[in-house]
Symmetry: C2
Subunit: 371 residues, 2 copies
């Protein structure tokens, strides 16, 4: 049944768990990383490339799709799945984060937020009801409640106001999209690095009965130690019987840490954005493609990787394509980085189910904190 969440295995030495979430477009096996398909595409990937990579769920951004091409266009074309040629589960961010990070001249009030498009300056408005309605019309599997997402550091008062408004909007979002339909709705917990504030936020959301709970407001300016500590403190506040989603995080090491804290879902632009900028994530750590050391390197980008990129080209060739500014470089690096992230999550899930999570963590040298 859509919305059913089943924990299939628990690690005994950490809070890590393997689970399944049933959505209208398939079952999401967690822990899972969602590639970011901002405007209805994972940048650089043709639809068939994404399908071949086989992510459990893909994220798209309500904010970007509202601006271009518009919800009505996507709806008229049969919804977001048909539009982007992705048949599996889709989760959309509510736009709360983008309004804070991209849009200009934000004005928050009890009923929503007014802002200007970062594309053309047009004035737009998101209300809790409008935001949820847009996601429902897009036909996504998981909608996110509208939130206020302040950066870190922010004054305590601003974090408190963000939580208060997010809670008030959460109630209205839930009312606009009642439980039991085919679109699941996740609530978002704000509160920055203040554990008591996060606890209060969770307490305000719990009675609303969301299908899942997300930690927002991380990776918004804090250093990695603060992020890791914050996640370790906040994740246990979320109910254990619903999916936990850590929004916008992070590096491969951040994911391993998050999984150990009991997080089920992640999304982040790091693998795709880094790919466009020529940074590869590999089993040997990060590699800068343009580095002169790769000029005559016949080895694949990651000797331990079996992705299509590593099976078909050398570091020297990939470097050559970057220097030639060939769009194929973006494709190749994006495929590799996403494969690395997705393969990592599959390994973590396998390890949890087989009681080897701690052992796997020890085998990943880069999985320790950067600091």
């Amino acid at each position: 049944m859509v919305g059913t969440f089943t924990v299939v295995a628990r690690d005994t030495e950490s809070s890590a768990r393997a689970a399944e979430l049933i959505t209208a477009h398939g079952t999401v096996r967690t822990p899972a990383f969602m590639p970011v398909g901002t405007a209805g595409s994972v940048k650089g990937l043709a639809p068939w490339e994404l399908v071949q990579l086989g992510p459990e769920m893909v994220l798209a951004n309500t904010y970007h799709l509202l601006l271009r091409p518009g919800v009505e266009v996507i709806e008229s074309l049969g919804g977001l799945h048909a539009f982007m040629g992705w048949p599996g589960p889709i989760l959309t961010d509510s736009g709360g984060f983008q309004v804070y990070s991209l849009a200009a001249r934000r004005r928050y009030d009890d009923d929503g937020v007014t802002f200007r498009s970062h594309l053309d300056g047009a004035e737009l408005r998101l209300s809790p009801e409008g935001c949820v309605e847009a996601q429902r019309r897009l036909g996504v599997d998981v909608a996110m409640a509208l939130d206020v997402c302040p950066p870190l550091p922010s004054p305590p008062g601003e974090l408190e106001r963000a939580v208060a408004l997010t809670s008030a909007w959460a109630r209205r979002c839930r009312a606009a999209l009642p439980a039991g339909g085919s679109t699941l709705l996740f609530g978002i917990v704000q509160g920055g690095l203040d554990v008591e504030l996060r606890r209060r936020a969770v307490e305000e959301l719990l009675p609303l009965g969301f299908d899942g709970y997300a930690l927002g407001g991380f990776s918004v300016g804090e250093e990695q130690p603060a992020l890791w500590e914050g996640v370790a403190a906040a994740a246990p506040l979320l109910p254990a019987d619903r999916p936990r989603y850590l929004m916008g995080v992070g590096t491969p090491a951040d994911l391993v840490h998050g999984v150990a804290c009991g997080v089920d879902l992640f999304d982040c632009v790091i693998p795709t954005r880094n790919a466009r900028n020529g940074l590869l994530h590999t089993s040997c750590g990060p590699r800068v493609v343009k580095h002169a050391r790769w000029r005559t390197a016949g080895e694949p980008p990651d000797p331990q990787c079996d992705c299509p990129t590593c099976r078909s080209c050398s570091m020297a060739y990939l470097r050559h394509l970057y220097l030639a500014r060939d769009a194929a470089a973006v494709v190749l690096a994006t495929v590799h980085n996403l494969h690395f992230y997705l393969a990592l999550m599959r390994r973590l899930r396998w390890a949890i189910i087989n009681g080897r999570f701690l052992q796997l963590r020890r085998e990943l040298p880069w999985a320790r904190a950067d600091g």
Copy 2:
């Protein structure tokens, strides 16, 4: 045996023919269009995309590869096939055209041409022997002799000098790469729109015994009627028992005309360059992707096409990706345009073999001259 060229069918109402050329990396079934992989990649395509498209032969540019990454780098990595992850036949242009069209401060002498790189201004030199040696070291299947390729219109004296130098260089190229090895060598016929000059060029090349003969110096500034007339006059001058290659041409209609004139091989940047600029070649004629008429168009780019792009996305989605400047747009359009060109050539070959070439030409409304 490498170099064997067999005509398998002839059209009775035109000079069109279907043939096979055996190369060290496979048999090229003609008429065939070679996608342009300028610097060792068909721009925007991952190696596996190119393999899936299945061209008979791919073209790369000696000029670009000399400049970057350098012949010694590719040689050290096992040759151009291994470098670019393309296991099939490769033909390299000699660089004659690029020296004329891209490089700065050209100085021709009897022994070669000195010029400055369009990338960094470095002074470089191509001699007939050096050019052939570079192609041999790249490990390509078909090398082209070094030529002088003046634009049109050019003064008669310049065209004559181009032919004289091209003939002299052709002799030195053939001497540097004798027949019988695994690298085939094609001679290039220049002469602009002057049929007598072209005839003289052919007479000078024939005794050298090239593995194939190319018409250079077309699509270098002349209008389509002059191109068509020139090709119709020049193609019959080439020996019938060797492959005929029309360099740098052209539109789908140009290809159909060329095939009717007895040309076997073509290459052109049109399908790939147009793809990057958002122009699609379709069975309904050219389509400009960004046009507002496609804003809500659920139809595929070409309703009669079964390429991966047309099977996975709508015109509205492709337009959206162009407006969002997503590299996936380039991938999708490049795959479609190349598929269109390659499918056209397969259809033409099939029609020639089955005695239906004239009928097929009549069925392609866009195959008439543009003018």
